[in-house]
Amino acid sequence: MKLSLDRKTKVLLVVFLLIYIFLGILNAIYLSKQSMSEAFKNVANRWVLKLPFGQGIFSRVNPLTIFMTWIIMFVIIIVVYRFRKPKLIPDRKQAALESVMDFVYQMVEDAIPDQRFVRPTFYIACTLFLFIVLSNILGGAIPGISIEANAQGNIEKIHLFSDTWFSPTADINTNAFLAVFVFLISQVFAIKSKGLKAWAKSWFEPIPFMFPMNVIGELSKPISHSLRLFGNIAGGALLTYLLAYMAKYLFLPVVLWGFFGIFVGVIQALVFTVLAIAYISSALS
């Protein structure tokens, strides 16, 4: 692969790499003195913010998830703004984006039986794929700022370049929202496609006795759908942290392992998208 960078980008990259190596060496000197149980004491805690209103679980938010979701949305909006007027002869970046979209569109077109719902499903699937790919790669391969919290949810320490960025998909709430959203969309599409009566009847097939089985089968879909992504990304982030600890917080050897993080992240985003399309198409047929 031949990269053609201009002078400004080269200077920026070199400055970033120097800062990164400097902070990595500082981390290696200061943080590697702590023992393993000390380094992994707060690995399962999240920074929690209490809202002044609401009660119970509705008064707690995870600020890191919200920030990272906004950042990813911002990146996607910038990409969309840049490619809002597609050129007739595509350059390299536009061709890459077009091939991704074409790949998703082929899958949707093969799976959805009803022609009217091909384009809405394509919009949903493509949005899911872009969002999840970006957040998975952020959480699996790119070192950044991470926040360590204690068991009460308050900030204890802020680390620079000792862990990867926090990925929104490493939080079960984001995944549960996406999965429930896909579930509701599939039911709405089924009602629109078949009519309310045929949709209600489809719950009692093949015999009315099977109604509870159908309900359980439908409700188990979003659960396994969300937990699959959560397990992959949260486990991957933890493994990255473990390897970073073993390499004394110098991320340079772990960059090789970043291949695995990127690979698993892309595969899991693809799996989430394919399963969303399959659930929608099974509700429609």
Partner: protein, 85 residues
Amino acid sequence: MENGPTLAEALIQMGKFIGAGICMGAGAIGPGIGEGHVGDGAMQAMARQPELIGVLTTRMLLSQAVCETTGLYSLLISILMLFVL
């Protein structure tokens, strides 16, 4: 032996570690068998029809990722046992 852990604390620690080990070890059996089956089928299909290697590789990775789910559940549970409980 004044500042050491009591017997109950030591037993709890022991239970956590043994439980996490069993959970991860037993949970890795199923995905291993499943992914092996998928790889077996894909290899045979590729040997019969080498021109379909591109399509088959994508599908193979996809179904292996689905097979891996239960292994990841046990990974999560063992992590919870070790670090949270």
